[in-house]
């Protein structure tokens, strides 16, 4: 199950109402609006809690998303690229988040850097269609994955800190 803080975070993200995929023209816009609203809220919440951990933007149609996410371990910030597409069957199918930088570095990952989400995530998502959106996927999927995997990977020496690589941003 998800832990207490995750649940708390989750509950503060507004739920979505429209069940529509990218093919559904009119309705997709509505859905996309709701996605944005949820994401804004989630980011705002994160910032308020001093827990900002990703940057995300999409193309015009809102079917392709990309950005960065980071994790602070021992006062060092490890940053990774993040990208994913909205699948055709969305929102029935959850988006497959991918960290291409970590591809081949951990067993808990599919080809192309798609993270291997926990057994809990998928049923949880299935139960909450169409209420869950991208924001939920981030909070429920990537957040816990990073928290578990990154310290492990750092420990193994798979990942090393890169001094100020993205500082320009």
């Amino acid at each position: 199950m998800v832990d207490e803080s995750t649940r708390k975070t989750l509950s503060s993200i507004p739920l979505l109402q429209t069940k529509a995929g990218p093919r559904d023209k009119e309705l997709w816009t509505t859905r996309l609006k709701e996605e944005y609203q949820a994401l804004i809220k989630y980011v705002q919440n994160n910032k308020a809690a001093d827990n900002d951990w990703f940057r995300l933007e999409s193309d015009k149609t809102g079917t392709k998303w990309f950005g960065k996410c980071w994790f602070v371990h021992n006062l060092l910030k490890y940053e990774f690229d993040l990208e994913f597409d909205i699948p055709i069957t969305y929102p029935t199918t959850a988006p497959e988040l991918a960290l291409p930088g970590l591809d081949g570095k951990t067993a808990k990952m599919y080809r192309g850097g798609k993270i291997c989400l926990t057994d809990h995530f998928k049923p949880l998502w299935a139960r909450n269609v169409p209420k869950f959106g991208i924001a939920h996927a981030m909070a429920l999927g990537l957040g816990p994955w990073l928290a578990v995997e990154i310290p492990d990977l750092i420990e193994k020496g798979v990942i090393t800190y890169q001094e100020k690589t993205e500082d320009a941003k």
């Binding site: 816009t29 509505t30 609006k33 804004i40 980011v43 705002q44 001093d50 900002d52 933007e57 809102g62």
Partner: protein
């Protein structure tokens, strides 16, 4: 239009999203950072703060003090420092440090981990007062439990401080930890008074206290203020309350009982709850002369009564059964004690048997009634020789004392064993009294076995004593005599005892009587011995004289005939002399001679028994009798006489004549009275011989013809013929057969007067 607006909106939202993502991250410091920063600051001693136990808050010490004070107020003025630490989530050490600051301010004090403000104490005082008013009584101990505060604090800082201000009541002077209200005291007093008034018998104080639900101490202190109708036996918890009405009724009962009965039983007194009866009686009757015995006290009245009765008994010469005059509760030892003291003055005139006092006079009268039999028995004893035998044995035993000692020892040991056995039996016996009384007294407790025992005792005593005392009169004898008298008086059970008592003195009397009698007898014997001495001497004198005279007479006969006469003379008169000697000697030797005339056998027997001094001469005399020599006989007689201390009187010639005359007259007188023809002839012949020869003759009938032959020459013819005829007839008569005797007798009888007259005639002629 709609889709375009939608897309615009989406764009705008995407922009917002970006804006939201880029805007506000930088300025926010996370909690973690803050903690780190503050820790750093504290490390650098730039700030002085206290952090809470959960580490989420920081406090300055001023804030802590303030918070503690607030907490204290919130908790009503009392709070535990540990609770405070929890409440404020501050380390206990920090709390303690700031508490020390707070306590310095005098408003608050720290008592065994509690912070206590003065207003809290005031509040308690108020509560206590309420409680006190409600209960009437309160103790520090109780409060200590209730408030969980030290007694010391409550005592000094609350109760005593606010007493009279907030707490309205009174401190117990004897117990400073207890406080009362006035009403409570009054109420309690009333309660106690009520209880004490109601009590009629001695009651333990604890019972009263439990009943009234009071404290010991309070009861004791209040009791003194109450003027209670009674007294306490002590100040301890185990004391008794004795109501005065009880004491009074107790005293009344004792006094009235004593007045009525004149004695007091200790048991009865202790049943009334008097623990020291003797002391009590002494206290109640300080002026009375009371005698204290083992189970009761007796008043002087009873003693006086007893004394009077005793005097009366002495005067009236009767007896007094003490038991009937004494209260029935007295034990036998008590009775003994009373009697002891009573008889101390009077013992001379009384005798005590069991519990009955007899005046000596009464006993004396009983004794008197036994005197006759005593006398009789004593005399019997003397007569039968028992006494003399006993006396002799006693004499003997003195010499044999040595050997007897052993016997005595043995006897004593046996006695002792018997006594032990007897007392042992007594101890296990049915009557407790028996063990108390002396062993001597057991006799009158006439259970059969005891009686048997005593009998056997007596028997053994007799056998044992037989060497020291002779029992002339036995207990049974005495019993028989006094039995009737005593039974009439209803004193059956004392018979044996009295009899034993009497027997002792009676036996003594009997012994003395016996002794007297025996002495008298001895004296008599001595006197008679003296008399026999002279009479024997006289008799022997006479006999010797007679013999001499007869000897003279027989000189008239021819010598060949003389031996016959001498033989007869010695045999008869000599025998008499010997008999006389024998009698005398027997007397001297204390041999009893009952008969006056001794046969030859008797003489011989006596001779054998005689003591040596007499035996020899008398035996010699006896020997001379069988010989026909008068001279020898005389010599033997002389020896005997000297041995017997007798003398032979000189023969008086004149007296001889008178003797002969007397003899002659006697013969004639006898002849006159004689009817037997043979004897008449014999006497006539002897008389004529005496007349003719002026000498006496002693001859037997067989010698009559010899005398006749002699007389033939001296008497007239016709007289002789008559004698001749008479003699023939007598000879025939004596030799004749039985059937013819009557004829001759008749004839002789015819001749007798003639014969007698012949003798007279011859006498006249001379």
């Amino acid at each position: 239009m709609a889709p375009s607006t939608d897309w615009d909106e989406i764009k705008r939202l995407a922009a917002d999203f970006q804006k939201a993502q880029l805007s506000s991250t930088a300025q926010r410091l996370s909690e973690r950072n803050c903690v780190e920063i503050v820790t750093k600051l504290i490390e650098l001693k730039l700030i002085d703060v206290i952090f809470t136990t959960d580490g989420k808050e920081y406090l300055t010490s001023q804030q802590l003090t303030k918070e503690i004070k607030d907490e204290l107020y919130v908790h009503g003025g009392r709070i535990n420092t540990v609770d405070l630490a929890k409440e404020l989530s501050v380390d206990l050490n920090q709390i303690n440090a700031s508490v020390a600051d707070i306590v310095r301010g005098k408003e608050v004090q720290l008592v065994s981990g509690y912070l206590i403000a003065n207003y809290y104490l005031e509040k308690i005082a108020r509560e206590i007062n309420e409680k006190l008013q409600l209960q009437g009584q309160i103790s520090v101990g109780e409060l200590t439990l209730q408030y969980d505060l030290p007694a010391e604090l409550l005592q000094h800082n609350v109760l005593e401080k606010y007493l009279g201000k907030i707490i309205i009541g009174k401190q117990d002077s004897s117990e400073p930890r207890t406080f009362y209200t006035e009403e409570y005291i009054t109420r309690t007093k009333a309660k106690i008074r009520g209880a004490l008034m109601g009590l009629l018998k001695p009651t333990p104080v604890t019972v009263i206290i439990n009943h009234c639900n009071l404290a010991d101490r309070l009861f004791m202190s209040l009791f003194d203020q109450l003027n209670a109708p009674g007294v306490l036996t002590g100040r301890q918890a185990g004391a008794l309350y004795v109501p005065s009405c009880y004491t009074k009724s107790q005293n009344d009962w004792v006094v009235s009982f004593y007045k009525q009965n004149n004695y007091l039983e200790y048991d009865a007194l202790s049943r009334l709850g008097i623990s020291d009866p003797k002391g009590y009686v002494r206290r109640i009757f300080p002026n009375e002369d009371i005698k204290f015995l083992s189970t009761c006290a007796i008043g002087s009245q009873i003693m006086e009564q007893l004394e009077t009765a005793l005097e009366e008994c002495v005067i009236s010469k009767s007896y007094l059964d003490v038991v009937s005059l004494l209260p029935s509760v007295l034990s036998s030892t008590d009775i003994e004690n009373v009697l002891d003291s009573l008889l101390k003055n009077n013992s001379k005139s009384t005798t005590l048997f069991d519990n009955t006092v007899f005046s000596n006079n009464y006993i004396e009268s009983l004794k008197q009634s036994c005197m006759s039999i005593t006398q009789k028995k004593a005399e019997e004893a003397v007569k039968s020789g028992k006494y003399q035998q006993f006396y002799l044995e006693k004499q003997l035993s003195k010499s044999a004392d040595h050997s007897q000692g052993q016997v005595d020892q043995k006897a004593e040991r046996r006695e002792e064993r018997r006594r032990k056995a007897a007392s042992g039996k007594g101890g296990g016996g049915t009557q407790g009294r028996e063990t108390k009384t002396k062993a001597v007294k057991k006799h009158q407790r006439s259970s059969k076995q005891a009686a048997n025992d005593s009998d056997s005792d007596d028997a053994s005593n007799v056998t044992k004593k037989s060497q020291t005392t002779l029992e002339i009169i036995t207990v049974d004898d005495v019993e028989d005599i006094i039995k009737e008298t005593l039974e009439n008086e209803g004193l059956d059970d004392l018979i044996t005892q009295i009899a034993e008592y009497l027997q002792g003195s009676l036996n003594q009397t009997a012994l003395s009587i016996a002794k007297e009698t025996a002495d008298k007898l001895l004296q008599d014997a001595n006197q008679s011995r003296k008399q026999t001495h002279s009479s024997s001497q006289d008799k022997i004198n006479i006999l010797v004289n007679d013999i001499k005279l007869y000897e003279k007479g027989l000189k008239f006969f021819p010598p060949d005939q003389q031996t016959q006469f001498i033989k007869y003379l010695l045999k008869t008169l000599g025998g008499d002399i010997l008999a006389e000697f024998c009698k005398y000697a027997a007397n001297q030797c204390n041999l009893s001679v009952q008969v006056d005339d001794l046969s030859v056998e008797q003489r011989n027997k006596i001779l054998k028994d005689l003591s040596d001094e007499y035996k020899k001469p008398l035996a010699a005399l006896n020997a001379t009798l069988s010989e026909q020599n008068v001279e020898l006989f005389y010599q033997a007689v002389d020896v005997c006489l000297s041995e017997c201390g007798m003398i032979l009187k000189k023969v008086d010639k004149k007296k001889d004549k008178i003797l002969i005359q007397n003899h002659r007259e006697k013969l004639i007188a006898e002849l006159e009275n004689c009817d037997d023809p043979a004897l008449s002839l014999h006497m006539a012949v002897l008389a004529i011989f005496t007349i003719v020869t002026q000498n006496m003759l002693h001859a037997s009938g067989r010698q009559v013809p010899a005398i006749m032959a002699y007389l033939k020459a001296h008497v007239k013819e016709d007289h002789f013929e008559q004698l001749q005829q008479c003699q023939e007839l007598v000879t025939k008569y004596l030799t004749a057969p039985e059937e013819e005797k009557a004829d001759f007798e008749d004839k002789l009888k015819e001749l007798l007067p003639a014969l007698k007259s012949t003798v007279q005639e011859i006498k006249k002629q001379k």
